[in-house]
Symmetry: C2
Subunit: 404 residues, 2 copies
Amino acid sequence: MNKKHIVILGAGYGGMMTAAKLQKNLHPNEAEITLINKNDYHYQTTWLHENAAGTLHHDRTKIKIKDVIDSNKVKIVLDEVKCIKPEEKAVKLQNGAIHYDTLIIGLGFETATFGIPGIKEHAFTIGNINNARLLREHLDFNFASYHNELEKKNARLNIVIGGGGFTGIEFAGELANRIPQLCEEYDIEKAQVRIIIMEGAATVLPGFDEQLVEYAMNSLESRGVEFINGALLRECKKDSIVYEKDGKLCELPTMTTIWAAGVRANSIVEKSGFETNGGKVEVRCDMRTPDFEDVFVIGDCALIKNQETGRAYPPTAQIAIQQAETVANNVKASIHQEEMDSFTPNLQGTITSLGNNDAIAEVFGRKLFGWKASCMKKMSDNRYLLKLGGLSLLMKKGKFNFFY
Amino acid sequence: MNKKHIVILGAGYGGMMTAAKLQKNLHPNEAEITLINKNDYHYQTTWLHENAAGTLHHDRTKIKIKDVIDSNKVKIVLDEVKCIKPEEKAVKLQNGAIHYDTLIIGLGFETATFGIPGIKEHAFTIGNINNARLLREHLDFNFASYHNELEKKNARLNIVIGGGGFTGIEFAGELANRIPQLCEEYDIEKAQVRIIIMEGAATVLPGFDEQLVEYAMNSLESRGVEFINGALLRECKKDSIVYEKDGKLCELPTMTTIWAAGVRANSIVEKSGFETNGGKVEVRCDMRTPDFEDVFVIGDCALIKNQETGRAYPPTAQIAIQQAETVANNVKASIHQEEMDSFTPNLQGTITSLGNNDAIAEVFGRKLFGWKASCMKKMSDNRYLLKLGGLSLLMKKGKFNFFY
């Protein structure tokens, strides 16, 4: 029997869940499965803002691939994808190359700086374990430095978050909880620290329910977060930023700018010659690329439009996890030469955390805020862990601090 | 009755212990006592290397002055001493001035860089809580940065300790215990990290028993510490050091140089016009300055020579604490117009920690090493706490991890 080789690129929400499903649904005689990832761990991107703020240790966010994937059923290759050659059915890696019969691309997102000078050099991002813990340490280092300089620098204590979307707001919420601890640790007055959210639109969380946005802003403001809306970041320097507001250029001293205003699909996809739309592959309804029968795309690299509104679905963990189910089914169907499923997202809503014990949510058509919304968020996170790795993973990494 | 005003400058080992003694020995009607210190806490200088390495939190090292000193008996002024004017019996502070009848100078030490270029700008020191926790955060920040750079920099993982005296050796011992934790935290191979002790003399811990020095070097080497002896630091740059060995100049990439090779008495003493010898006041046998009847000097700013050898006693916590007893007695004697005591150091020995559970010691004429010496060290630290603040302070800050 000629075993098919299924290759999954990336162990993010989509790739990891696809691998977990396939190891259950396919018999080892039917196919060989390989999961390629840079690190030996999967991480929950949606928890990284907590690691970056220092309110949750990154070990909680990391999930060892081997804790979920049975290496007898799925071969795990630790390597970095450099390029995909769909015509040759091959993937070029940092340390070699691999051939596939069926490919699943789950390579996630990368930062988009829109050409704003200095972002790449001086701004921090919250995109993976490495840069999340770097940001945490950078904050600590600045607070620790403050009293060691004769001339006290406000730039060390001003923290600017570029972008008032989900990431920016969620990070601000955690940071607002973290700052009092940092102040205590380094003998700094809380009033000296500024957290500033800078948003280009007239309001933060554009698209979210107005009432809930107001709730979020009040919650954050009560903990010392400032908002500068309608402001565009023009340059990020080592110890300041320049922004434009009402047609005027302003400068603000800061050594900590967090760029949370732009992500794009991993550029490897575009560079590998796939037909893309804004960097993403607009997949067929069975999640395959329009131009290759044997390539599936999942998660942030896949573009799916809402048939009714014509607008693209947002690149969320929720949708990536749902796609994994369809992709795993369709990979199995292709091996069994059965008909493939169509993917239909089942939008259950959006929950934005505002720090521990506070959140806003639009779920099942209802608005929630405060403790209830925060519980919903933790429960939704826990549900993913249960789905991915069963009870043992849930017990190991779950969030049970509902009353904390 | 004309109450005398006793002013104590600095809440280090000497000043703090003097204040604690005086509040017991003098009746509030006899004198007014003021303790002037920059911070509202005293800290145990001999524990700072642990805070700097990150093996002990600095809250354990800090002792709130109010936990030991009764503010009904001793007025605590939080201010920075700028200059002493002994002719005017006055002390100039950052925010004012104060008059005294009797002055006790316990202003401690500062770093001496011997004019080596770059030390002041780029090297770290272990001299107070602020710079100890800065060093801890700097280490964390470098380890966190390592995986965020495309071009991996060894300079981030090379740690150079300039000086193989007590401070350098004790810090290296703690660091050797800390590095495996840092490696785990930031996914770095332990073999990539270097700890290098650079010493100008032919051996580290000059003056210490040869056999014990060998023990110390073996203990540290077994945990990955390297020694470069007979090497002189010539320049400290942002990401490297230049040193001279066997007449040749060598460069070593490092972003972390810890300068542990030179301290001197607080330069305020010299600048204030006291007669000094190498920056210190060679005090009379009753601990007063040679030129002023009403000024005592204690701790690192005081110079006392061993009558037999003619050599100065080292500036240790042990001696400062003993001096405090004499100074407190003599201040009381001067108020009662009684005769003053002479100070005679009671050298009980030296213990050098090599990290948790290891140490070398020469005490009561005996050589000790390993667990026994480490126990002695902790017991000696605990005895100080008991002496300073009684059982409650000992229970709060003591070291009881004898078997850990």
